[in-house]
Subunit: 341 residues, 2 copies
């Protein structure tokens, strides 16, 4: 591997996403990309007795589905990198217990999936591991009661609020050449513009996404037009419009059409989710399903994927802290017959 340029690690035919799987809830299944998930769960408790156990089960099933689709077995997987929004990432920890695969616990809030893929790609590209699975999950009911209010209260939500997705995504990252190459990864810095409203996460996260986006472009000497799409997850409607404004101001040109936000696109307008979807499972689910599928079909050839996460907790908010955010980026490129097209 080459020395990173600032905070961007460039891979040279060293790391590929060879398989992906995603499982989502009923509401996500009714969204515009519902048919891109491998499975829609009908029982959002997945046969368990608590939401937290259900989320862990969801994550575990998604990882197993990913491994099954790849034609490999659990013992072929060198490491499982994952995280989630629950305190002490219990969804991932308990899933790792059941899976028995060597585990690396990650935490980047809703950016965890991209943080995990970036880290997994380094383990693979270094030559240390051959096959890793990177995953993340979220569940509407675990997130609501942890971060917001008990579901039973039926509290009214402001228009800027986002809906935590019940979804999990898993990507297999391998050294073996395949259709989708991970070209580079850019680490995030924790950015805080002092937004304090936990019902307006998009506003808190947009500056972090902008920081990593411009960092990536500078480090790689690329422009935003070098990508077919820049995928963000999950800024939601308002966060995305803030990002577009920042980009316009910085670049002096409109580039609204280049962006696709997973949060804005997970649900339909009539699904009453206000600003859109959020949660680790939002970008994880759409990336591991819809986006990989579109790349394989050839609709997208070059993508920049920016996960974003709000690094707050209930405790930090109650203590009057603002919401610091982070964003990790990976760029993906479609290969054709072993040659980058």
């Amino acid at each position: 591997m080459k020395r990173a340029k600032e905070r961007t690690i460039v891979f040279e035919n060293e790391a590929y996403i060879t398989e992906g799987a995603s499982i989502a809830g009923q509401k996500e299944g009714e969204g515009p990309y519902g048919d891109t998930f491998d499975q829609i769960i009908e029982d959002d408790l997945l046969g368990t007795e608590t939401w937290e156990k259900a989320e862990s089960e969801l994550l575990k099933r998604t990882v197993l589905r990913c491994i099954e689709k790849s034609g490999k077995t659990k013992t072929d997987v060198d490491a499982f990198l994952a995280g989630d929004l629950n305190a002490q990432i219990i969804s991932s920890g308990f899933a790792a217990r059941d899976l028995g695969i060597p585990f690396l616990g990650m935490y980047g809030a809703c950016s965890t999936m991209i943080e995990s893929i970036l880290t997994g790609a380094v383990f693979v590209a270094s030559g240390a591991f051959h096959t890793v699975v990177c995953a993340a999950s979220s569940h509407f009911c675990t997130a609501e009661r942890q971060f917001r209010t008990p579901l039973e209260l039926g509290t009214q939500r402001p228009p800027s609020a986002q809906w935590t997705a019940t979804a999990a995504g898993a990507c297999m990252v391998e050294k073996e050449k395949s259709a989708i190459e991970i070209k580079s990864g850019t680490l995030g810095r924790v950015i805080d513009l002092k937004i304090k409203d936990p019902a307006h996460m998009g506003a808190a996260m947009a500056p972090a996404v902008a920081d990593t986006l411009f960092g990536h472009l500078t480090d790689t000497k690329k422009s935003i037009r070098d990508f077919d799409k820049i995928i963000t997850g999950d800024l939601g409607k308002y966060g995305l419009s803030i990002l577009k404004e920042i980009v316009k101001e910085k670049l002096g040109e409109e580039a609204d059409d280049i962006f696709f936000d997973c949060g804005e696109n997970l649900y339909r307008d009539n699904q009453d989710v206000h600003a859109g979807g959020s949660g680790c499972g939002c970008i994880a689910g759409l990336l591991s399903g819809h986006i990989l599928k579109e790349m394989k079909k050839g609709k997208y050839r070059k993508l920049l994927i920016l996960g974003s996460g709000a690094m707050m907790s209930v405790t930090s908010s109650l203590q009057g802290e603002s919401i610091p955010s982070i964003s990790y980026a990976i760029s993906l490129e479609r290969c054709t017959d072993g040659i980058v097209s």
Copy 2:
């Protein structure tokens, strides 16, 4: 880098711990290794108004001290890898905000320091990064009120309970040859022998440590006598005695003298901490101070360091779940004049 042998990554003159720093609280300062910390804080709020902000400040100061001791500046550091016990790892996230260094959030409970060093070593050994800082923190007051009972209750603690250390440790990991080489790292699996008592973490974690220990020995074809010491952190008195029993049963010989547990050794017997110390800062603080110093002095030449963490949360315990645990290992070797002695 070479392909890992099972779950053990072997580094070949590719990753070194070039600097370390640790800061601890008053009680830790009164322990047997009190004089090995870079600083003892007198005010356990560190000038802030909450324990959580104090822990974040403690972590930040420790990282800055480590960078300062190395003669480098923040901009020389390619990445900061850290985690802590607080929900959503807020100590680390807020410290990363203030530091401004590209950040990778890790979570392995009390094993986080070793998980971070292992991961950081891969980023460095791969050639992607030159200099990373790996760190972890804990604070007695944040842990007590999150995991146990409000301090004000003064609840009686059973003899098997451990005392969460107020401490932080930071290690700089670099490609540049120095006195302490990271020879290898072994990933942990999440192991659960169905211990449910959160006041007996040592019992929950000992089987995970044994699993990683035997995994490491098998992968590297080494025996425990190949090390001057096997450092565990933080099993405490009872957890360590369980580990010793498991080792004796497996190897058919007593090897009690080879083990040094950070939890058992952080405090003095008369400091009323029952089974010993715990928390991410326990092994992080002793490794980044005492242990590195002893290696530099030549007292230890070959060490195996096993961090261990309990991957539970208050929610999982309240839901009747047992305590799944994980352990990561790194082996360290002292180099003399550029030649491994």
